[in-house]
């Protein structure tokens, strides 16, 4: 297929300008995090003399929250993949009776506002003693990762050639064996995409952190920033340094796994 012809440098310059405009808030966040305390309000345009005291304060005040977020996000990633991978295998290849309603249900979950889930979970968590617990937050945060991962993995597994599976079956492999030794290895890309996004969803969660925690015991970084803004709105360098630290996984993802990010966005919307 013929592509649109290549254009020259003016487009590149225009593209850089557009990107600079779009990413200005991100630049401003980084810039602010490198200003000395107090001076931030003067708003120096460039961090000519970067001052890392904001980061020192951020790590000191929010280090634990960062660790909590990491634990919760990793937990949610593991849980999401552990539930989604076999489900996707069933939906894509085993097709048991009732698979279509399940798929339909998974799509419907995207329409359910988090506040509705949180509203009902609060009471249930209160009874079960899951408020203020890592487990409770991992479970709630996976409401984003499980459906998303199932959808991504399903469309990837649909592409596994039937012949390979049949061949494995003829060789005497059971369904579990086919899943583990044939389908999963062939779905590595989708597994990475699903895992990265599950991590990011849980890492970014604010609603469940806000509603399912009543004490300081389990406080992820999103909640840390939220409280920080209320309590220390004069320490903008520390607040912005915390924001930068909280943004790192997303930025790293974009640099390291561009392809997966793009795959995640498109399959999330079209499938």
């Amino acid at each position: 297929m013929k592509r649109t012809p290549t254009r020259g440098r003016p487009y590149t310059i225009a593209g850089i300008v557009l990107l600079a405009l779009m990413l200005f808030p991100v630049y401003w966040m980084v810039n602010a995090s490198l200003q000395p305390a107090g001076d931030v309000l003067r708003g120096a345009w460039f961090p000519l003399h970067p001052d890392f005291s904001g980061y020192a304060t951020a790590v000191h005040d929010q280090g634990r929250a960062l660790a909590t977020s990491l634990v919760v996000a990793l937990g949610s990633t593991v849980l999401s993949l552990a539930l989604a991978a076999p489900a996707a295998y069933a939906l894509a290849l085993l097709r048991p009776r009732g698979a279509t309603p399940v798929l339909f249900g998974i799509l419907v979950t995207q329409m359910v506002p988090g506040i509705v889930v949180a509203n009902a979970l609060y009471g249930a968590y209160n009874d079960l003693g899951l408020l203020n617990s890592h487990l409770g937050l991992v479970l709630a945060d996976s409401t984003a990762g499980v459906p998303f991962s199932t959808i991504i993995l399903r469309s990837s597994m649909q592409g596994v050639p039937r012949e390979i599976i049949e061949a494995a079956r003829v060789d005497g492999a059971g369904r579990l064996r086919v899943f583990r030794s044939v389908v999963l290895p062939l779905s590595t890309n989708a597994l990475v995409t699903a895992g990265l996004f599950s991590f990011l969803f849980a890492w970014s969660d604010f609603l469940f952190a806000l509603t399912l925690n009543t004490t300081e015991t389990v406080r992820p970084i999103t909640l840390g920033i939220y409280d920080y803004v209320g309590a220390h709105s004069n320490q903008w360098n520390a607040i912005m340094a915390t924001a930068v630290l909280a943004a790192l996984p997303a930025a790293a993802l974009l640099v390291v796994a561009q392809r997966h990010v793009r795959a995640g966005i498109t399959s999330g919307a079209v499938d």
């Binding site: 013929k2 506002p113 009902a120 970084i221 607040i239 793009r262 498109t266």
Partner: protein, 318 residues
């Protein structure tokens, strides 16, 4: 459906075959069961429980006494007739419509721009995704600070350019605040719109444009006659998803304005949150949440129809 044929291939070859045939669907369901159980517990239960709660006087005392008296439709009538709802509904509509219009138009413009191939285009397009990947708390906090009346960079710049002498109360003015949170939400949503619409543009065969060019069509004509009609299905998906996501938005508003000033940025979602988790009126919060679900569902029907077409196309493909 190949596996179904496999079942019929062995018609009753003794007890083992019968057992195998009974076991067959169970074995397949075992893979699906954990995820289905999870979805039932974390989506099914909350939906049902919210409906039940919305008919109860479910408050803080319920947690101690366990008593949640049935109050019929009182939660709904109370909420739907309240001033709060009368104000939150138009705010929600304006916020959603404004966000969608901005995200879509700017997203489409960027998608069209990046559709041309030029040096560094790919890298720039990928970096553009960053706002969408950032935790909303991070974006919202940054914007809140940028829009601050006295110390924010936006007013600082406007003053520096001598466009105005005093600052615009972006977050504290009742009419500006809604525009501000809408702008923030647009900024967050542009990358998503661009990515999906760009994908849609890539799927339009290039030879159509060449043919149009030969026929003497200008860029505007080929956009109207080729790009737009062929992009419509993708545009539909993006817009419906945009509605569903924007109706749910809570983080941005809570952080940027906290619903204020004078409730000017309270939407149905933020109201539902406040009823439940600040006033501990869980029953009323549930009722309002359900109103939100119904609105979302109306759009979901559209979305699922579009999706089913996409799914069918996907499963008949290679």
């Amino acid at each position: 459906m190949k596996d179904g044929a496999e079942d019929k291939a062995a018609p009753g070859r003794g007890r083992a075959a019968v057992r195998a045939r009974l076991w067959e669907p169970i074995a397949r369901w075992m893979f699906l069961a954990p995820a289905v159980a999870y979805l039932l517990l974390f989506f099914g239960y909350p939906i049902v429980e919210n409906i039940v709660m919305s008919f109860q006087q479910y408050t803080t005392t319920t947690f101690y006494t366990g008593a949640a008296p049935f109050v019929g439709l009182r939660n709904y009538t109370g909420i739907l007739s309240s001033d709060l709802f009368a104000r939150a509904l138009p705010t929600t509509v304006l916020f959603t419509a404004g966000s969608l219009a901005g995200q879509f138009v700017l997203g489409l413009a960027l998608a069209l721009f990046f559709h041309r191939r030029f040096p560094l285009g790919r890298v720039l397009r990928s970096l553009l995704l960053l706002p969408w990947l950032l935790p909303l708390v991070v974006s919202a906090t940054t914007w809140r600070w940028m829009l601050d009346t006295d110390t924010g960079v936006v007013n600082h710049t406007l003053r520096g350019l001598h466009l105005l002498s005093s600052g615009v109360p972006w977050l504290t003015g009742t009419s500006q605040a809604l525009a501000s949170v809408t702008v923030v939400n647009i900024w967050v949503g542009i990358p998503f719109n661009t990515a999906i619409l760009y994908g849609g543009l890539q799927d339009i065969p290039a030879h159509l444009y060449e043919a149009a060019k030969l026929d003497g069509a200008g860029p505007l004509t080929s956009f109207r006659r080729i790009t737009w009609p062929l992009l419509r299905p993708v545009a539909g998906v993006v817009l419906v998803l945009g509605v569903v996501y924007t109706l749910k938005v809570l983080d941005i508003i809570l952080i940027v304005t906290g619903g204020g000033p004078a409730d000017a940025t309270e939407t149905i979602a933020t109201r539902s949150y406040e009823l439940s988790f600040q006033q501990f009126e869980f029953g009323r919060g549930a009722a309002l949440g359900n109103v939100l679900v119904v609105i979302s569902l109306l759009f979901a029907v559209v979305h699922l129809r579009a999706n089913r077409r996409a799914l069918e196309a996907g499963s008949t493909g290679p």
